[in-house]
């Protein structure tokens, strides 16, 4: 297929606004008469609010509204992916930083001063921070529904039988600490009421979800809630629907004025959301020849105070099913008195993959196989069964058709990556460095992973395409603009289908009053799943244009095509008319210009299901004197189907590699032992890898064209973080002979492990950093 727009390095649609500083994020918005909000937060991990007195604060000049638990509904609100379940403000606080009251005032200074005048009497309650402690029956109960969620299970065959059939059984356990999304942008939300209509401006990846949930919670018609979704400064799961969004809404209603709540970096780090702390175990049955007979994975996820997740399965149950007759994947969600945990880039897959990959490594080493060989033997291929969304269908009580995998380029990912890193010459065997120079030991390592390309059950997105009289095109989607390049990618799809230059397309995204409904921009959804709707809308617009042209060119509509802005009769390129001439022409019959508007609501099919795959290869140097791990080379090979825009995708991969390697080597939230408070809520103490810390990753796309996705595209954004920790851990193991099974492996943790020969973090508090016992 010869493509004109797809596969091209088209500049970002909004690049001009971005490089000139004209792009408006929510923090940049200010409305006439707008008030500023500040939130009073709990100093306790767990307490009951016995009394709250706001009278002094109300008396302060400039204060226009104060809300406490008395001013918000008694009911809880629920985030659709269970990232939150709780009241907006409760009479009980469940973590340090939890909302207690909020003030709207004429300035931030006044609002802050008012907070200091609110008198709160707390009755402290026992708290629990540790995942395992929280599961005990006598643990302090964080959630009104108990600490432990009903487990979700994906299961097939009979694992006991599967283990019986194995020649080798490997058991492995891993842990991971908590990472923060740490986008550069700041969260902000502005709410204003005009009569019974609510308008919200916020930087968000989940625009329609905010509208829908907000409307239901406020018992308003969805048509009277308008969410203007603005671009986010990165997001990675953070600019979702969060509890703070409700605060300016209630304040604005009480004050009768627009209210803006802008969170500080400290608030973003310690009160919104973060990656969960978790513990994973894998039992893997393997035959002598390396084929898997059974996998039993148990994953325990710490939800923090208001996370309610019971199911972060994305694709781990489906990645190794080629030979796998028996599998059981269990998920247990647990509440604690820490800041709410929830979705972050690579949710579920990253941490589960870490455990799975290490279990596979252990098995391979015991069997005398290399890491490539065992993976090549077992990874899923097109046509293999896919079961990860079974729990959804069970919950929704829907019949679930059998599902199979649409495509897999895993094979190529592994082989291409091996070639690029020089595997043959550098792989010296398990626990064998490639080079030792004094205290410096070098080795390579690799790992693979997968992630979902959207999810059909999340809903059916719709897209509108309008062709104007001058031939320019407007594109409308409800998707979130989070720096992932969606505006450009979707425009490329329209350009390809409609045969017009991509520059002639202008997108409007995420304004709920203007744009058609879309699934939230999550789960690497847009290229693959939203793209299907965009493609359909563009095809319908094309149909209308061809119909118009049929009169003009004297040919049947189906014999007409459009390329490079020219409408022509197939096989007769001379019988043509420029696109813009056609759309400007007055129809002699009707006496008016044509009005071309096309919409489509379309999703991906139930089956086959697309997953995207990657194999990452790392070469590291471990300084055994200090424990510092230096990444010397990093090769990331991705099968995301057809790459719609290579530059956008390369940025996605590099960002994932920096975040994934950062998580592995040191990015972690540190919680106070006594209060659970996050102690490093800033960019000085929370260490993020930048351009000098990792050499530029070499990014390779293998482009296994997917039969389902738009032009064969699959997802990419989220998965990019998934294999990093496992690849680095394997490389470090090869360099030093010491296995790291708890993320992160900071220099000190590496140092200690090298001294003791066991990967163990000596830190006393278990929630302080993850470690393995």
């Amino acid at each position: 297929m010869e493509l004109s727009a797809i596969g091209k390095r088209v500049a970002l649609e909004d690049a001009y606004e971005k490089v000139t500083g004209k792009l408006k994020f929510a923090v940049d918005i200010s409305l006439p008469g707008m008030l500023h909000a500040k939130v009073l937060r709990s100093p306790y991990a767990h307490a009951k609010i016995v009394n709250i007195d706001t009278r002094k604060a109300e008396a302060l000049p400039g204060v226009r509204a104060i809300i406490t638990h008395k001013d918000v509904p008694k009911e809880e609100w629920m985030e659709l992916w269970l990232n939150y379940y709780g009241r907006v403000i409760d009479d009980r606080v469940r973590f340090v930083g939890d909302e207690v009251a909020a003030v709207a005032a004429t300035s931030i200074d006044v609002a802050e001063e008012a907070l200091s005048l609110i008198e709160v009497e707390y009755e402290e309650l026992p708290h629990v921070f540790d995942l395992e402690e929280a599961m005990k029956p006598d643990a302090p109960q964080v959630s009104p529904y108990g600490n432990v969620r009903e487990p979700t299970i994906v299961e097939w065959g009979d694992i006991e039988q599967g283990f019986k059939g194995a020649d080798l059984i490997v058991e492995h356990k891993t842990r991971a600490g908590s990472q923060q999304h740490a986008p550069v942008g700041l969260n902000a939300c502005i709410a204003t009421w005009e009569g019974d209509k609510l308008t919200i401006w916020t930087s968000a990846q989940s625009v329609f979800e905010i509208r829908d949930v907000m409307a239901r919670y406020l018992k308003m018609p969805m048509s009277k809630v308008r969410v203007i979704g603005l671009p986010t400064g990165g997001s990675f799961g953070l600019f979702w629907l969060n509890n703070f969004h409700f605060i300016p809404v209630f304040l604005a209603r009480k004050a009768g004025k627009p209210v803006k709540l802008e969170l500080t970096r400290e608030e973003i780090f310690s009160t919104v959301k973060r990656r969960e702390i978790c513990m994973t175990s894998v039992k893997l049955g393997v035959k002598r020849d390396g084929t898997f007979t059974a996998i039993h994975m148990k994953h325990y996820w710490e939800n923090g105070a208001y996370g309610f997740k019971t199911n972060p399965y994305e694709t781990m149950s489906d990645l190794w099913v080629r030979n796998l007759k028996h599998g059981k994947f269990e998920f247990h969600g647990v509440s604690t008195n820490l800041c709410t945990a929830g979705c972050m880039r690579g949710v579920g897959d990253l941490v589960q993959d870490f455990c799975m990959e290490q279990a596979i490594d252990k098995a391979a080493e015991k069997l005398g196989m290399g890491p490539l060989e065992i993976r090549l033997k077992n990874h899923s291929r097109a046509g293999d069964p896919q079961r990860a969304d079974v729990p959804f269908y069970q919950w929704a009580k829907l019949a679930r058709p059998e599902k199979t995998l649409s495509s897999s380029g895993m094979d190529k990912c592994i082989k291409e990556g091996a070639k690029a890193i020089g595997w043959q010459e550098k792989w010296k065997g398990w626990g064998q460095p490639t080079e030792v120079n004094g205290s410096k030991r070098r080795a390579i390592g690799m790992a693979v992973s997968s992630h979902c390309s959207g999810q059909r059950y999340l809903g059916t997105s719709s897209v509108t395409v309008k062709v104007n009289q001058d031939g320019s095109v407007n594109l409308f989607t409800g998707a979130g603009r989070m720096g992932q390049g969606m505006e450009t990618t979707q425009a490329q799809i329209v350009a390809e289908v409609l045969g017009v230059p991509v520059e002639s397309i202008k997108g409007t995204h995420g304004d709920t009053e203007v744009c058609p409904w879309s699934v939230a921009t999550v789960a690497s959804i847009n290229a693959h799943q939203t793209g299907v709707a965009t493609q359909a809308a563009a095809a319908e617009a094309k149909r209308q244009v061809c119909e118009l042209a049929s009169k003009e060119l004297g040919a049947k509509p189906e014999d007409i095509d459009i390329k490079k802005g020219v409408v022509f009769v197939k096989g007769h390129p001379k019988r043509s008319i420029p696109f813009a001439d056609l759309t400007a022409k007055i129809d002699p019959e009707t006496g008016t210009w044509p009005t071309i508007i096309a919409s489509a609501s379309k999703s991906i099919p139930h089956s086959p299901v697309a997953r995207f795959y990657m194999a990452h290869f790392a070469e590291v140097e471990v300084d055994t004197d200090t424990g510092k791990v230096k990444i010397l080379r990093y090769v990331a090979v991705h099968d995301s189907g057809r790459i719609i825009n290579p530059s956008i995708c390369e940025n996605q991969v590099v960002s994932g590699v920096l975040q994934g390697c950062g998580f592995a080597l040191g990015e972690r939230l540190v919680f106070d032992e006594n209060t659970g408070q996050i102690l490093n809520p800033n960019f000085t103490d929370y260490k993020i890898l930048k351009a000098l810390d990792v050499p530029d990753p070499e990014v390779i796309f293998v482009e296994e064209i997917d039969p389902v996705g738009t032009f064969g595209a699959k997802g990419i954004g989220e998965g990019t973080v998934c294999p990093c920790a496992a690849a680095l851990a394997q490389a470090i193991y090869n360099a030093t002979g010491v296995e790291f099974n708890a993320i992160p492996f900071t220099p000190e943790i590496v140092f200690r492990a090298l001294r003791s020969g066991v990967a163990k973090d000596a830190d006393e508090s278990r929630y302080h950093v993850a470690y393995l016992n």
């Binding site: 004197d625 200090t626 540190v670 102690l679 260490k687 993020i688 890898l689 930048k690 810390d693 000190e748």
Partner: protein, 289 residues
Amino acid sequence: MKNFEYLAPKTVKDALTLLAGDQGDSKVIAGGQSLLLLMGHGLVTPKYLIDIKGISSLNYLQKTQSGLEIGSLTTHRSVETSPLIRNGFCVLAQMEGALASLETRNWGTLGGNVCHADPKGDVCPVLIALGAKVKMISLRGERTMAVEDFSTGYFETALNPDELLAEIQVPNPAPRTGTAYHKFTMIEGDYAIVSTTVSITLDASNEKCKDARIVLGAVAPAPMRAKRAEKVLVGREIKDSLLQEAAQIASEEAEPVSDMHASDEYKRELVKVLVKRVGKEALEKAGMA
């Protein structure tokens, strides 16, 4: 940030006059790279803020017979890029190159860094290793003091409330002296987890160590000299084993405390590694000097 009155004296004299009337409620601001953060978080709440950044007579870097004289308002970046520094004091330039961001170094001053007295700071340890002094001035007169004595504790200095830090004086190194600096960080260009500066002067035969300074950063309330470790080196030929011995002693002398980034134990281990490595580098430089 709490409100304050902003005063911008144009001359040193005006600044000192303002300081002389200080009732403990004023604060000097130079580049503000550290101070404004503290004020932003409400940790420092002066009533008067005396901005000296505009006093150009305190912004200079010059070479004299005895060494370098650096006006306290000289920016980090000027130090880093000055040809005077690059010839003979390159350890200062190297240290500056990894201190915070270029944007911080463009505005932040050397004097401000020294007065801020952050135990994790990079400037003081290197100045101490180089035997630098500071000149302080007030309406009462001026006095000089070794940088080593100037940093008295955790964010504390010997500066009196009516004094300004006017100048930093770095003596010419003795012949056959090499100084090297390294900080161990979590990420590039970050604050030190541990830093080590070693200065070694060889005797005329170029064999034995005539003088040595080992300065440790971020392992005590203020930069500290590992004096017992220095003694191990002086008068002896420096071999790996001797450096090892000095490193061991230095790590015992260090008084690190655990923080969220590293435990005290680990910091001691890092001191051991750094003294050995940096010592070796200093020795090589001394041999070539």
